[in-house]
Structures are given as C-alpha cells and as structure tokens.
C-alpha cells in the first residue's frame, strides 16, 4: 500500500484550494480561447525574445504548424484545468501544466534588456506570474492531494484494495 503524506486539515484545505484555483485559471484560459475563433497564439509567439525566439517565431510563421499549436494549447489548458479541479490524473496534469507554463515563460521572459510590444498588465523583473504559477504547481507536485480529495481517490482506493 502506498503511504500518502498525512496532512493536517488546514494543510489539506490549503493545498486543495491552491489546486482548484490554478485549475480554474487554466480552464478559463482554455475555454476563452476555444470560444474565440479569432484567437491565435501567433502574436504571442511573434513577440518572442531571448534564445528560443527563432523556434517560437518559426512556429508562428509556419501556417501548417500554427493551427496545431493553437489546438494543442487550447485543449491542453482545458484538460489540465479539469484535471486539477477534479483531482483526476492530477500528477500528469501538474507536470503538463508546469511544462506548458515553462514554454510561455521562455517564449517571453521578463529579462533585463528585453522589451515587448505587447503591453503587460503589471511590471516584472525576471519573476512574472507565469514563474509564480509554475512554482505553485511544483509545490502541488510534491504535495499531491488528488488521491485524498479528487477523482484519483477512487483509483487510489481500488489500487490499494
């Protein structure tokens, strides 16, 4: 039998809340993109700076790759969001979430000397919301709660039968 970490009530509540909040954010980002036929990652990718700019711009400028990236991004966000909220395959969802945000971060990192035409809603120096959300997901990866509060609980229960 796999031994879960034993959290206090408050710890569990805090971790599940964090998981749901991040899941909600992912889900709504994905749904918004799904509902907006005009949406495309092109402008975000074209704005890419730093060492990976060539790759991201290449994606934006390739008409056969861009639609695939758009679909993957939209559905990735939705599925990760659902996974986190429901606690369903939440470990996979967490890793996928970290990977996705890492891509956003390295595409347009708030590094010294990089200037972006797309105005950001805040002011960032190296640390931006992507990095913070990524770190929060990393916490959730180390302190999983899906087996306790979430659909994973069933699998966990059946597996440990």
């Amino acid at each position: 039998m796999r031994i879960d970490k034993k959290y206090s009530n408050w710890q569990l509540a805090a971790l599940v809340t964090l998981r749901i909040l991040i899941g909600w954010h992912f889900l709504y980002e994905g749904i918004s993109k799904l509902m907006n036929p005009q949406w495309s990652a092109a402008s975000f990718l074209l704005e890419s700076k730093w060492i990976f700019a060539g790759i991201f711009k290449g994606i934006a400028e390739n008409p056969s790759v861009l639609p695939i990236v758009n679909v993957l991004n939209t559905w990735g966000l939705i599925l990760i969001g659902l996974g986190l909220i429901l606690g369903c395959l939440s470990r996979i969802a967490t890793v996928a979430g970290i990977s996705l945000i890492l891509l956003y971060y390295v595409c347009n990192p708030p590094f010294i000397g990089l200037y972006y035409a797309i105005p950001s809603e805040g002011n960032y120096l190296i640390v931006n919301k992507n990095l913070v959300e990524m770190a929060a997901l990393f916490v959730l990866l180390l302190f999983p709660t899906g087996n306790i509060i979430g659909v994973n609980h069933f699998f966990h229960k059946l597996r440990s039968k």
Binding site: K6, L12, N62, I85, A117, P119, G150, F154, K161
Partner: protein, 468 residues
C-alpha cells in the same frame, strides 16, 4: 475531517464507500460553479462582444479587400502593420521589382493565408482585380498622383503615403479625383492618428491651453550619414522596365528620394511629417518661409536634393505671430527627431520616437495641479541641474521648470492607428484623420521650402494657395 481521511487511507479493504464518493467528487461542485460563472459572464459580455463585432466587421463588408501598390521599404512596413488589423483580406500585390519587393510581400501574405495575385503594372492589376475595396499606395512620390487617380477611378478607397505628391499639380488632381469619385483618400501623415499626438492637441493645447500663448516652434529630424541604398546584383531590374516606369538606372530606382522629379529630398521625406504637426497644433498655415540649404556633403550627381535644410516659417495665429524653425540634417544624428512647441506658460516636447517627450511648466505660469488631477499630465518632477564638474551654479541661473510626462503611452507600430483609422472610415465608423485637404495644405507648406532654398529669399504664401 483529518480522522475521516485517515480512515479511508488506513482501511482500504472495505471497498468504495459513501465517504469515498464524497472525497472523490468533492470538487465536482467547483465545476458547476465554474460553468455558472462562465455562463453569467457570457451573458454579461454579449452586448459588448456584439458591439465589438459590429465595430470591426459590419454587415455587408465583412472583409475589406485590399491591394498593395508599391511594396518597397515603406510599403512593407505598412503591409506588416495591416496584418495586425482584423477584417482585412489581402488580394493583390503590385510592384515593378518583381524578383524582390513583389516576391517578399507576396510570400509574407501567403504565410498568413492570404491568396494574393501579383502584378508589375498597376493598370493590369486594376483591370484584373474586380473585387477590391481599398488600396495602400507606397510608391515613390512622383507616382502618387497617377496611382491614386487610377485607383480612385477604379472605385477604390485609397491610403496614399506622404508626400501626397512631389508637385502641387499632382496633389491637386488627386483632390479632384477624390471629390469626383466620392471615395476616401487618406494621406499617410500617421502622427495624426497617434494617441499621444491626439492627446496633446485635443487635451493639452485645445482644451487646457496649457502652453499659454505659443510664440515659437522648433522641430528637427537629424540623421547620421548613410551610404546610398544598394540592391542584390541578381535582382537587378532590366533597363527597359526601369525606363518604362520613369527611372534612368537601378541606382536612381533605389535612391529616388534624392532625385529631382522623383522625390523631394529629406525636407519632404522627413520634414513633411513634422511640419504637418506645426500646421495641426497651431491650427494655421504659414504666412511666409525662408530657408537655407544645399547638397553640402554628398555628391551632387547622386543627391540632387539638399542634404541639409534649415527653414523658418512665420505663422499668424489667432493668438499672434508664431515663428517656427525646422531643420533636417543627413550628416549628423544629434538629438534625433522631435517637435517642440514653446508658449509663455509652458513647453511641449513631442516626438514619434518611442514615448520621448514631456511638458515643462514655466516658473511664472499658474500651477497645473488641475490638469494633473484630470489626468492630462503626470505629476511633476523637479528638474535639477546635474553638476558633475564641481562648477558652482551662479545665482543668475534660471530655475529649471517642472517636468511632466505625457500620460499616454503608445507601444504599437507607428502606422497602425492611422491604417486602422482608414479602414474604420471605410466601414463608416470614424472620420479620416488626414483626408486629402489636410495632405494638400501640408504639401503646399513643405514643397515651398525647396523653392525658398533655390531662390535664396523669403517667400510669401498667398492664403488662396492653401485652398483647394
């Protein structure tokens, strides 16, 4: 809760229980809450979305069909900006430099899934393309009149780069064609749509009268020495084609701005943008101009127009006389480009260059707290002299004025709002910010500088010259 949870973990052999369902599906209601919020937001945003969609794509004109005529350096910038605007469908590209300009433009448009046809001759394009709504003209100045008139007569709305024409006769027939056809003609003085310039004119100058009585204007565009523009040898245009379209050589085709009869030199290329702002912000046209200039640095064989020009205009405004000097150097880039408006209560420094500028209150002027609280200006910062040499400031030194930022930032490409204004005017949503009559008045104002240099004397403007 803690205890219950531990039970479920420590006693797994009892199978799935009610408690497991509660724990497994505990967060399901969150999805319900999400769905409710989302639906609520959708209903809430619907009128806004509807308004937005009506704004960008009105019925009957879902996409504006656009052609590019001239896709050299400037045309390529406009093309890239147009790609950022919604509701446009690009249909055709026309440029006589088939193997370079034309190819480059078509490739970019095709990348973004615009199926464009390519042409070398504008007449052929206008005959073949039956579904165009608008054209962006960015050809050399001496072609503007022919191209614009032909496009207007083909029932197209026209965005034509400045200078409207290299001759007033050319500009006049453009105005006549626009009036005759009733189509829109926007001239590419793009600062007229720049939100920072609009804020300065509408709020600071007209509404607040923040500068008091403007007595002087100072503008410049200084550029560093540049070699002549070259071309890849494999992409040379044959001489018959060059001749057909008015060029004697590939060098002349690439460097047309410097040649008499083709362009107008730096005072027209650069000065025209800023002298247009003089007229706009002063709400007037000049009474006279005197100027000094010449081809002082470059070879006169390849630089027929003047590489250095200093001009002084005299305006008679409602408030009184305003003297405005403008200089353009192509041999030194000191201080770049800007327009300064100097009044008895303050100074406005503005430039198209990335958010450069500010407003300075004269020490004797009334406080500007009201304008700061209205958001017209940012809060002041004291300008203190920087002393690094150990020199002691004399008591007779004037105290530095307060400096305020212009609280409107603009990070888009420079031409984007002017192009957006053009397309929105086609959709009937906005008025053109630089229609032909403004472009014409600016052409009259600017083209006279070259005459003043040539004649080496002060030239008067007859008010009738500005009427069209």
């Amino acid at each position: 809760m803690d205890e219950k949870r531990d039970d479920s973990q420590s006693l797994p052999k009892k199978g799935i229980e009610r408690r497991d369902f509660i724990q497994g599906l505990a967060t399901l209601p969150i999805l319900g809450l999400f769905t409710l919020s989302w639906l609520d937001k959708t209903i809430h945003d619907k009128p806004k979305d509807l308004a937005r969609s009506q704004r960008t794509i009105p019925e009957g004109l879902s996409d504006i069909n656009v052609a590019f005529l001239g896709t050299g350096e400037q045309g390529y910038i406009l093309l890239n900006d147009c790609l950022k605007l919604p509701g446009l469908r690009f249909r055709a590209v026309c440029d006589i430099w088939e193997s370079y300009n034309q190819k480059r433009a078509a490739q970019v448009l095709k990348k973004y899934k615009h199926e464009v046809n390519t042409y070398m001759d504008y007449r052929e394009m206008l005959t073949e393309e039956k579904n165009l709504d608008a054209v962006i003209i960015a050809t050399p100045d001496f072609w503007h009149a022919d191209h614009t008139v032909a496009c207007l007569e083909a029932n197209l709305h026209v965005y034509c780069e400045k200078e409207m024409s290299n001759t007033l006769e050319g500009a006049r027939i453009m105005v006549e064609a626009a009036r005759r056809t009733g189509k829109l003609l926007q001239i590419g003085h793009q600062r007229r749509s720049n939100p920072r310039y609009l804020h300065c004119y509408n709020n600071l100058i007209k509404d607040a009268g923040i500068l008091g009585r403007i007595t002087a204007v100072k503008g410049q565009w200084n550029k560093a020495v540049q070699p002549d523009i070259g071309w890849p040898k494999k992409n040379i245009i044959d001489s018959a084609t060059l001749k057909k379209y008015g060029y004697e050589s590939m060098h002349q085709f690439r460097n047309w701005r410097w040649y008499k009869g083709l362009g107008g030199g730096p005072i027209v290329d650069l000065g025209s943008h800023q002298i247009d702002i003089f007229n706009w912000f002063l709400d007037a046209q000049p009474k006279s101009v005197m100027a000094s200039g010449g081809t002082d640095y470059y070879s006169k064989d390849t630089h027929e127009w003047y590489d250095t020009v200093l001009a002084i205009y005299e305006y008679e405004t409602e408030q009184g006389v305003v003297r405005a000097n403008y200089q353009t150097l192509t041999t030194n880039s000191s201080e770049g480009y800007f327009e300064n408006f100097l009044g008895d209560q303050g100074t406005l420094q503005i430039s198209e260059s990335a958010n450069r500028g500010g407003v300075y209150r004269e020490p004797t002027a009334p406080q500007w707290d009201k304008w700061v609280s209205l958001g017209y200006l940012s809060a002041p910062e004291k300008v203190t002299p920087q002393i690094t040499s150990g020199a002691v400031l004399d008591v007779r030194e004037t105290i530095g004025p307060d400096r305020h930022d212009i609280p409107v930032t603009f990070n888009d490409p420079y031409h984007l709002p002017h192009l957006a204004n053009f397309f929105n005017a086609i959709r009937g949503l906005e008025k053109l910010n630089c229609p032909y009559d403004i472009g014409y008045k600016t052409a009259v104002t600017v083209l006279k500088v070259n005459q003043a240099v040539e004649k080496a004397r002060r030239l008067e403007f007859d008010p009738l010259e500005f009427q069209i």
